[in-house]
Protein backbone atom coordinates (compact mmCIF):
# COMPACT_ATOMS: atom_id res chain seq x y z
CA UNK A 1 0.00 0.00 0.00
CA UNK A 2 2.09 2.91 -1.27
CA UNK A 3 -0.56 5.48 -1.76
CA UNK A 4 -4.22 5.37 -0.90
CA UNK A 5 -6.15 8.58 -0.32
CA UNK A 6 -9.83 8.22 0.55
CA UNK A 7 -12.22 11.00 -0.43
CA UNK A 8 -12.77 12.45 3.04
CA UNK A 9 -13.46 16.16 3.63
CA UNK A 10 -11.50 17.60 6.55
CA UNK A 11 -13.62 19.71 8.86
CA UNK A 12 -12.34 21.83 11.72
CA UNK A 13 -14.45 21.93 14.85
CA UNK A 14 -14.13 23.18 18.42
CA UNK A 15 -14.25 19.71 19.93
CA UNK A 16 -12.46 16.62 18.60
CA UNK A 17 -15.17 14.02 19.22
CA UNK A 18 -17.87 16.23 17.67
CA UNK A 19 -15.56 16.79 14.74
CA UNK A 20 -14.83 13.13 14.04
CA UNK A 21 -18.50 12.17 14.46
CA UNK A 22 -19.75 15.02 12.26
CA UNK A 23 -17.12 14.39 9.61
CA UNK A 24 -17.78 10.65 9.43
CA UNK A 25 -21.58 11.09 9.24
CA UNK A 26 -21.18 13.68 6.48
CA UNK A 27 -18.90 11.24 4.69
CA UNK A 28 -21.68 8.64 4.90
CA UNK A 29 -24.19 11.00 3.34
CA UNK A 30 -25.75 12.94 6.25
CA UNK A 31 -24.88 16.33 4.77
CA UNK A 32 -27.05 18.30 7.23
CA UNK A 33 -24.85 17.38 10.21
CA UNK A 34 -23.10 20.25 12.00
CA UNK A 35 -20.95 20.36 15.11
CA UNK A 36 -23.62 22.00 17.34
CA UNK A 37 -26.24 19.51 16.14
CA UNK A 38 -23.94 16.58 16.90
CA UNK A 39 -23.12 18.00 20.33
CA UNK A 40 -26.81 18.54 21.15
CA UNK A 41 -28.03 15.20 19.76
CA UNK A 42 -25.27 13.49 21.72
CA UNK A 43 -26.34 15.32 24.92
CA UNK A 44 -22.75 16.48 25.30
CA UNK A 45 -23.45 19.30 27.74
CA UNK A 46 -22.75 18.34 31.35
CA UNK A 47 -20.93 19.28 34.51
CA UNK A 48 -19.18 17.04 36.98
CA UNK A 49 -16.71 17.62 39.79
CA UNK A 50 -15.20 14.30 40.89
CA UNK A 51 -14.02 14.56 44.50
CA UNK A 52 -10.65 13.05 45.57
CA UNK A 53 -9.61 12.49 41.96
CA UNK A 54 -6.72 14.64 40.79
CA UNK A 55 -5.97 15.50 37.17
CA UNK A 56 -2.48 16.92 36.58
CA UNK A 57 -2.36 17.81 40.26
CA UNK A 58 -5.61 19.80 40.21
CA UNK A 59 -9.34 19.25 40.69
CA UNK A 60 -11.13 16.93 38.26
CA UNK A 61 -13.93 18.96 36.71
CA UNK A 62 -15.53 18.42 33.33
CA UNK A 63 -18.03 20.45 31.33
CA UNK A 64 -19.05 17.62 29.00
CA UNK A 65 -20.25 14.04 29.14
CA UNK A 66 -17.95 11.00 29.06
CA UNK A 67 -15.65 10.65 26.04
CA UNK A 68 -17.31 8.51 23.39
CA UNK A 69 -20.85 9.16 24.58
CA UNK A 70 -21.65 12.02 22.22
CA UNK A 71 -21.21 9.91 19.09
CA UNK A 72 -22.90 6.87 20.65
CA UNK A 73 -25.95 8.74 21.92
CA UNK A 74 -26.44 10.76 18.74
CA UNK A 75 -26.08 7.66 16.55
CA UNK A 76 -28.56 5.72 18.61
CA UNK A 77 -31.14 8.48 18.19
CA UNK A 78 -30.54 8.55 14.43
CA UNK A 79 -30.72 4.76 14.09
CA UNK A 80 -27.05 4.35 13.24
CA UNK A 81 -24.74 1.72 14.64
CA UNK A 82 -21.22 2.68 15.66
CA UNK A 83 -18.79 -0.17 15.11
CA UNK A 84 -16.06 0.00 17.77
CA UNK A 85 -12.97 -2.17 18.21
CA UNK A 86 -10.33 -2.17 20.94
CA UNK A 87 -7.23 -4.32 20.98
CA UNK A 88 -4.85 -6.03 23.34
CA UNK A 89 -2.25 -6.62 20.67
CA UNK A 90 -0.53 -3.76 18.84
CA UNK A 91 -0.05 -5.94 15.79
CA UNK A 92 -3.77 -6.67 15.50
CA UNK A 93 -4.60 -3.00 15.96
CA UNK A 94 -2.10 -2.06 13.26
CA UNK A 95 -3.46 -4.63 10.80
CA UNK A 96 -7.07 -3.67 11.48
CA UNK A 97 -6.48 0.03 10.76
CA UNK A 98 -4.64 -0.75 7.51
CA UNK A 99 -7.42 -3.10 6.46
CA UNK A 100 -10.09 -0.46 7.02
CA UNK A 101 -8.18 2.01 4.86
CA UNK A 102 -7.80 -0.61 2.13
CA UNK A 103 -11.53 -1.25 2.31
CA UNK A 104 -12.04 2.46 1.57
CA UNK A 105 -13.38 3.22 5.03
CA UNK A 106 -12.15 6.36 6.81
CA UNK A 107 -12.23 5.64 10.55
CA UNK A 108 -12.10 7.49 13.85
CA UNK A 109 -9.21 6.71 16.20
CA UNK A 110 -8.91 7.47 19.88
CA UNK A 111 -5.40 8.63 20.77
CA UNK A 112 -3.31 10.10 23.57
CA UNK A 113 -1.96 13.60 22.91
CA UNK A 114 1.35 13.27 24.82
CA UNK A 115 3.10 11.81 21.78
CA UNK A 116 1.23 13.66 19.03
CA UNK A 117 4.11 15.38 17.23
CA UNK A 118 2.03 18.01 15.45
CA UNK A 119 0.48 19.33 18.69
CA UNK A 120 1.99 22.43 20.33
CA UNK A 121 4.45 21.24 23.01
CA UNK A 122 2.61 23.20 25.72
CA UNK A 123 -0.53 21.16 25.09
CA UNK A 124 1.04 17.73 25.23
CA UNK A 125 -0.20 16.30 28.52
CA UNK A 126 -1.12 12.66 29.16
CA UNK A 127 -4.67 13.12 27.93
CA UNK A 128 -5.99 9.97 26.29
CA UNK A 129 -9.40 10.88 24.89
CA UNK A 130 -8.40 12.79 21.80
CA UNK A 131 -9.97 11.77 18.48
CA UNK A 132 -8.92 11.99 14.86
CA UNK A 133 -9.85 10.51 11.49
CA UNK A 134 -7.44 8.39 9.42
CA UNK A 135 -8.34 8.77 5.75
CA UNK A 136 -5.46 7.14 3.92
CA UNK A 137 -1.80 6.29 3.70
CA UNK A 138 1.00 7.77 1.66
CA UNK A 139 4.73 6.87 1.65
CA UNK A 140 4.21 4.77 4.76
CA UNK A 141 2.58 7.64 6.67
CA UNK A 142 -1.03 7.83 7.78
CA UNK A 143 -3.09 10.70 6.42
CA UNK A 144 -4.81 12.29 9.37
CA UNK A 145 -7.72 14.70 9.68
CA UNK A 146 -7.55 16.04 13.24
CA UNK A 147 -10.62 18.22 13.87
CA UNK A 148 -8.82 20.74 16.08
CA UNK A 149 -6.27 21.44 13.34
CA UNK A 150 -6.92 23.93 10.54
CA UNK A 151 -5.54 21.58 7.90
CA UNK A 152 -4.91 17.86 7.49
CA UNK A 153 -1.70 16.34 8.80
CA UNK A 154 0.22 13.04 8.84
CA UNK A 155 1.58 10.53 11.38
CA UNK A 156 4.32 7.94 10.92
CA UNK A 157 3.43 4.31 11.59
CA UNK A 158 5.53 4.36 14.75
CA UNK A 159 3.91 7.53 16.12
CA UNK A 160 0.45 6.21 15.29
CA UNK A 161 1.05 3.06 17.33
CA UNK A 162 2.45 5.11 20.21
CA UNK A 163 -0.57 7.41 20.43
CA UNK A 164 -3.07 4.58 19.92
CA UNK A 165 -1.45 2.64 22.75
CA UNK A 166 -0.95 5.47 25.22
CA UNK A 167 -1.41 4.23 28.79
CA UNK A 168 -3.14 5.57 31.86
CA UNK A 169 -6.70 6.77 32.53
CA UNK A 170 -8.98 6.31 29.49
CA UNK A 171 -6.23 4.37 27.69
CA UNK A 172 -7.36 4.07 24.05
CA UNK A 173 -6.19 0.45 23.51
CA UNK A 174 -6.03 1.08 19.80
CA UNK A 175 -9.73 2.07 19.74
CA UNK A 176 -11.03 2.42 16.16
CA UNK A 177 -14.63 3.28 15.29
CA UNK A 178 -16.88 4.11 12.36
CA UNK A 179 -20.63 4.39 11.69
CA UNK A 180 -22.47 1.54 9.98
CA UNK A 181 -25.65 1.35 7.88
CA UNK A 182 -26.19 5.10 7.77
CA UNK A 183 -29.61 5.85 6.28
CA UNK A 184 -31.12 9.20 5.38
CA UNK A 185 -32.96 10.79 8.29
CA UNK A 186 -36.42 12.25 7.72
CA UNK A 187 -37.31 15.65 9.13
CA UNK A 188 -39.82 14.15 11.58
CA UNK A 189 -37.24 11.64 12.77
CA UNK A 190 -34.70 14.42 13.33
CA UNK A 191 -37.23 16.56 15.21
CA UNK A 192 -38.08 13.66 17.50
CA UNK A 193 -34.40 12.95 18.09
CA UNK A 194 -33.79 16.58 19.03
CA UNK A 195 -36.51 16.53 21.71
CA UNK A 196 -35.28 13.25 23.12
CA UNK A 197 -31.71 14.55 23.28
CA UNK A 198 -32.83 17.75 25.02
CA UNK A 199 -34.76 15.78 27.62
CA UNK A 200 -31.72 13.58 28.12
CA UNK A 201 -29.54 16.62 28.82
CA UNK A 202 -32.13 18.04 31.20
CA UNK A 203 -32.10 14.74 33.06
CA UNK A 204 -28.29 14.68 33.22
CA UNK A 205 -28.10 18.23 34.51
CA UNK A 206 -31.02 18.11 36.97
CA UNK A 207 -31.83 14.58 38.05
CA UNK A 208 -28.68 12.52 38.62
CA UNK A 209 -28.61 11.80 42.37
CA UNK A 210 -25.76 13.10 44.49
CA UNK A 211 -24.10 16.50 44.79
CA UNK A 212 -21.38 16.28 42.13
CA UNK A 213 -23.22 16.03 38.78
CA UNK A 214 -25.08 18.60 36.71
CA UNK A 215 -26.04 21.97 38.17
CA UNK A 216 -25.60 20.58 41.70
CA UNK A 217 -22.01 19.89 40.75
CA UNK A 218 -21.49 23.57 39.95
CA UNK A 219 -22.71 24.45 43.46
CA UNK A 220 -20.39 21.74 44.80
CA UNK A 221 -17.38 23.35 43.12
CA UNK A 222 -18.45 26.71 44.54
CA UNK A 223 -18.48 25.23 48.06
CA UNK A 224 -15.01 23.74 47.52
CA UNK A 225 -13.63 27.05 46.23
CA UNK A 226 -14.70 28.78 49.45
CA UNK A 227 -12.47 26.32 51.40
CA UNK A 228 -9.48 26.04 49.08
CA UNK A 229 -7.42 29.05 50.13
CA UNK A 230 -7.43 28.12 53.79
CA UNK A 231 -6.94 24.42 53.14
CA UNK A 232 -4.28 24.56 50.42
CA UNK A 233 -2.61 27.94 50.79
CA UNK A 234 -2.83 30.85 48.32
CA UNK A 235 -0.44 29.40 45.75
CA UNK A 236 -1.95 25.95 45.34
CA UNK A 237 -5.49 27.32 45.54
CA UNK A 238 -4.53 29.63 42.67
CA UNK A 239 -3.27 26.67 40.63
CA UNK A 240 -6.55 24.88 41.26
CA UNK A 241 -8.43 27.85 39.86
CA UNK A 242 -6.15 27.74 36.82
CA UNK A 243 -7.07 24.12 36.27
CA UNK A 244 -10.78 24.96 36.28
CA UNK A 245 -10.23 27.70 33.71
CA UNK A 246 -8.28 25.34 31.49
CA UNK A 247 -10.93 22.63 31.57
CA UNK A 248 -13.51 25.30 30.81
CA UNK A 249 -11.86 27.38 28.11
CA UNK A 250 -9.08 25.36 26.52
CA UNK A 251 -9.10 24.36 22.90
CA UNK A 252 -11.95 21.92 22.37
CA UNK A 253 -14.69 23.66 24.32
CA UNK A 254 -15.81 26.32 21.84
CA UNK A 255 -15.57 28.80 24.74
CA UNK A 256 -17.59 29.17 27.94
CA UNK A 257 -17.34 25.50 28.92
CA UNK A 258 -19.31 24.23 25.88
CA UNK A 259 -22.25 26.53 26.76
CA UNK A 260 -21.95 28.56 23.53
CA UNK A 261 -21.93 25.31 21.58
CA UNK A 262 -25.14 24.25 23.31
CA UNK A 263 -26.71 27.65 22.66
CA UNK A 264 -25.83 27.23 18.97
CA UNK A 265 -27.48 23.79 19.05
CA UNK A 266 -30.71 25.18 20.52
CA UNK A 267 -30.75 27.86 17.83
CA UNK A 268 -30.48 25.20 15.11
CA UNK A 269 -32.97 23.00 16.95
CA UNK A 270 -35.44 25.88 16.92
CA UNK A 271 -34.94 26.22 13.15
CA UNK A 272 -35.51 22.53 12.52
CA UNK A 273 -38.51 22.12 14.82
CA UNK A 274 -40.04 25.57 14.41
CA UNK A 275 -40.26 25.81 18.21
CA UNK A 276 -39.64 29.46 19.20
CA UNK A 277 -39.20 28.56 22.86
CA UNK A 278 -35.91 26.84 22.01
CA UNK A 279 -34.59 30.08 20.56
CA UNK A 280 -35.45 31.94 23.77
CA UNK A 281 -33.71 29.27 25.81
CA UNK A 282 -30.69 29.46 23.51
CA UNK A 283 -30.23 33.01 24.84
CA UNK A 284 -30.12 31.66 28.39
CA UNK A 285 -27.16 29.47 27.48
CA UNK A 286 -25.44 32.36 25.76
CA UNK A 287 -25.89 34.22 29.03
CA UNK A 288 -24.50 31.26 30.99
CA UNK A 289 -21.53 31.03 28.61
CA UNK A 290 -20.82 34.74 29.01
CA UNK A 291 -20.92 34.34 32.80
CA UNK A 292 -18.54 31.36 32.63
CA UNK A 293 -16.17 33.61 30.67
CA UNK A 294 -16.56 36.38 33.27
CA UNK A 295 -15.86 33.82 35.99
CA UNK A 296 -12.69 32.76 34.13
CA UNK A 297 -11.52 36.38 34.06
CA UNK A 298 -12.18 36.66 37.78
CA UNK A 299 -10.28 33.44 38.47
CA UNK A 300 -7.52 34.74 36.21
CA UNK A 301 -7.01 37.68 38.54
CA UNK A 302 -6.50 35.18 41.36
CA UNK A 303 -3.89 33.01 39.65
CA UNK A 304 -2.13 35.81 37.80
CA UNK A 305 -0.26 37.14 40.80
CA UNK A 306 0.65 35.00 43.72
CA UNK A 307 -1.07 37.49 45.97
CA UNK A 308 -4.73 36.75 46.47
CA UNK A 309 -7.31 37.19 49.18
CA UNK A 310 -10.10 35.04 50.52
CA UNK A 311 -12.69 37.54 49.27
CA UNK A 312 -11.56 36.88 45.67
CA UNK A 313 -12.36 33.19 46.16
CA UNK A 314 -15.72 33.99 47.74
CA UNK A 315 -16.53 36.20 44.77
CA UNK A 316 -15.67 33.39 42.32
CA UNK A 317 -17.80 30.94 44.28
CA UNK A 318 -20.75 33.34 44.20
CA UNK A 319 -20.39 33.69 40.44
CA UNK A 320 -20.59 29.90 40.05
CA UNK A 321 -23.69 29.74 42.24
CA UNK A 322 -25.24 32.37 40.00
CA UNK A 323 -24.42 30.37 36.87
CA UNK A 324 -25.86 27.23 38.48
CA UNK A 325 -29.11 29.09 39.15
CA UNK A 326 -29.40 30.24 35.53
CA UNK A 327 -28.65 26.78 34.11
CA UNK A 328 -31.01 25.14 36.60
CA UNK A 329 -33.88 27.40 35.51
CA UNK A 330 -33.09 26.90 31.80
CA UNK A 331 -32.97 23.11 32.07
CA UNK A 332 -36.21 23.07 34.03
CA UNK A 333 -37.80 24.85 31.06
CA UNK A 334 -36.15 22.42 28.63
CA UNK A 335 -37.42 19.47 30.66
CA UNK A 336 -40.98 20.69 30.11
CA UNK A 337 -40.63 21.36 26.41
CA UNK A 338 -42.91 19.33 24.11
CA UNK A 339 -43.11 18.69 20.39
Amino acid sequence: MDKLILPYNHIQTAHCENGVATGLLKHHGLEFMTEPLMFGLGSGIFYIHIPFLMVNGGPAVSYRSMPGWIFSRASKLLGIKVNRRKFNSEKEAYDYLNKQIQLGNPVGCQVGVYNLPYFPAEYRFHFNAHNLVVYGKENGNYLVSDPVMETVTTLTEEDMLKVRFAKGPLAPKGHVYYPENVKQVSKEHLQKAIYKAIHRSAFDMLSIPGPICGVDGINYTARQIRKWREKLGPRKAGLYMGQIVRMQEEIGTGGGGFRFLYAAFLEQASDITGNQKLLTLSDEFTKAGDLWRASAINMGRIFKGRLNEQKDFLESADMLDNIAAIERAAFKELRKIKM
Binding site: E122, G242, V245, G254, F260, G289, D290, R293
Partner: protein
Protein backbone atom coordinates in the same frame (compact mmCIF):
# COMPACT_ATOMS: atom_id res chain seq x y z
CA UNK B 1 -20.05 36.22 23.19
CA UNK B 2 -20.15 38.53 20.19
CA UNK B 3 -17.91 37.91 17.23
CA UNK B 4 -16.06 41.21 17.71
CA UNK B 5 -15.36 40.32 21.36
CA UNK B 6 -13.54 37.07 20.53
CA UNK B 7 -10.06 37.47 22.05
CA UNK B 8 -7.07 37.26 19.70
CA UNK B 9 -4.18 37.06 22.15
CA UNK B 10 -1.10 35.23 20.83
CA UNK B 11 -0.62 31.90 22.66
CA UNK B 12 1.09 28.53 22.26
CA UNK B 13 -1.28 27.83 19.35
CA UNK B 14 0.43 30.37 17.10
CA UNK B 15 2.14 28.74 14.14
CA UNK B 16 0.32 25.44 14.75
CA UNK B 17 -3.40 26.05 14.55
CA UNK B 18 -6.22 28.38 15.56
CA UNK B 19 -9.14 27.24 17.65
CA UNK B 20 -12.81 27.25 16.72
CA UNK B 21 -15.05 29.28 19.04
CA UNK B 22 -18.80 29.77 18.85
CA UNK B 23 -19.85 33.44 18.70
CA UNK B 24 -22.82 35.59 17.68
CA UNK B 25 -22.63 37.56 14.45
CA UNK B 26 -24.07 41.05 14.07
CA UNK B 27 -27.54 39.67 13.31
CA UNK B 28 -27.50 37.76 16.60
CA UNK B 29 -27.10 34.36 14.89
CA UNK B 30 -24.56 31.78 15.98
CA UNK B 31 -21.51 31.24 13.84
CA UNK B 32 -18.01 29.94 14.45
CA UNK B 33 -14.80 31.91 14.27
CA UNK B 34 -11.10 31.23 14.74
CA UNK B 35 -9.00 32.55 17.63
CA UNK B 36 -5.25 32.48 18.24
CA UNK B 37 -5.75 32.42 22.01
CA UNK B 38 -6.93 34.22 25.12
CA UNK B 39 -4.65 35.73 27.78
CA UNK B 40 -6.70 34.37 30.69
CA UNK B 41 -6.23 30.75 29.69
CA UNK B 42 -2.70 31.32 28.46
CA UNK B 43 -1.85 32.48 31.97
CA UNK B 44 -3.48 29.35 33.42
CA UNK B 45 -1.44 27.13 31.10
CA UNK B 46 1.79 29.06 31.80
CA UNK B 47 1.20 28.67 35.55
CA UNK B 48 0.66 24.93 35.16
CA UNK B 49 4.00 24.64 33.33
CA UNK B 50 5.78 26.83 35.85
CA UNK B 51 4.54 24.45 38.54
CA UNK B 52 5.78 21.45 36.57
CA UNK B 53 9.22 23.02 36.09
CA UNK B 54 9.46 23.73 39.81
CA UNK B 55 8.61 20.14 40.64
CA UNK B 56 11.18 18.82 38.15
CA UNK B 57 13.90 21.10 39.56
CA UNK B 58 13.04 19.98 43.06
CA UNK B 59 13.18 16.33 42.01
CA UNK B 60 16.61 16.87 40.40
CA UNK B 61 17.91 18.42 43.62
CA UNK B 62 16.65 15.43 45.59
CA UNK B 63 18.43 13.01 43.25
CA UNK B 64 21.61 15.03 43.65
CA UNK B 65 21.42 14.90 47.43
CA UNK B 66 20.84 11.15 47.30
CA UNK B 67 17.31 11.33 48.71
CA UNK B 68 15.55 9.81 45.74
CA UNK B 69 16.28 7.81 42.59
CA UNK B 70 16.23 8.98 38.95
CA UNK B 71 12.98 7.04 38.43
CA UNK B 72 11.16 9.69 40.45
CA UNK B 73 12.90 12.50 38.57
CA UNK B 74 11.96 11.16 35.14
CA UNK B 75 8.41 10.44 36.26
CA UNK B 76 8.03 14.13 37.13
CA UNK B 77 9.85 15.25 34.00
CA UNK B 78 7.57 13.20 31.73
CA UNK B 79 4.47 14.62 33.51
CA UNK B 80 3.57 11.21 34.88
CA UNK B 81 2.22 10.06 38.21
CA UNK B 82 2.24 6.63 39.85
CA UNK B 83 -0.86 5.17 38.14
CA UNK B 84 0.38 6.33 34.74
CA UNK B 85 3.93 5.03 35.20
CA UNK B 86 2.44 1.80 36.45
CA UNK B 87 0.41 1.61 33.23
CA UNK B 88 3.49 2.13 31.04
CA UNK B 89 5.80 -0.25 32.92
CA UNK B 90 3.42 -2.92 34.14
CA UNK B 91 4.96 -2.61 37.65
CA UNK B 92 2.76 -2.27 40.71
CA UNK B 93 2.64 1.22 42.21
CA UNK B 94 4.23 0.05 45.46
CA UNK B 95 7.03 -1.58 43.46
CA UNK B 96 7.71 1.72 41.73
CA UNK B 97 7.69 3.48 45.09
CA UNK B 98 10.39 1.08 46.26
CA UNK B 99 12.41 1.92 43.15
CA UNK B 100 12.34 5.57 44.23
CA UNK B 101 14.84 4.57 46.94
CA UNK B 102 18.38 5.12 45.62
CA UNK B 103 19.63 1.96 47.32
CA UNK B 104 16.97 -0.20 45.66
CA UNK B 105 17.43 1.58 42.33
CA UNK B 106 21.15 0.67 42.31
CA UNK B 107 20.33 -3.01 42.44
CA UNK B 108 17.72 -3.00 39.66
CA UNK B 109 18.20 -5.55 36.90
CA UNK B 110 18.99 -4.46 33.34
CA UNK B 111 15.58 -5.63 32.15
CA UNK B 112 13.73 -3.50 34.69
CA UNK B 113 15.90 -0.51 33.84
CA UNK B 114 15.10 -1.14 30.19
CA UNK B 115 11.38 -1.11 30.98
CA UNK B 116 11.72 2.26 32.71
CA UNK B 117 13.92 3.65 29.93
CA UNK B 118 11.29 2.65 27.37
CA UNK B 119 8.47 4.21 29.41
CA UNK B 120 10.44 7.46 29.72
CA UNK B 121 11.60 7.32 26.09
CA UNK B 122 15.29 7.64 27.09
CA UNK B 123 18.34 5.33 27.03
CA UNK B 124 19.35 3.12 29.95
CA UNK B 125 22.56 5.14 30.30
CA UNK B 126 20.63 8.38 30.66
CA UNK B 127 18.53 6.78 33.37
CA UNK B 128 21.42 5.18 35.25
CA UNK B 129 23.79 8.13 35.05
CA UNK B 130 21.40 10.91 35.92
CA UNK B 131 22.70 12.59 39.05
CA UNK B 132 20.77 15.83 39.33
Amino acid sequence: MKKEDLPQDPSALVGVTREVCYVKDKDGKYTSDLSIGWDVKKQALDNAWEDIHERVTEAAAKVKSGEISPVFYFMEKKLMDLPLLSGYTGFWQWTIKRHFKPSVFKSLSESRLQTYAKAFDISIDELKNFNG
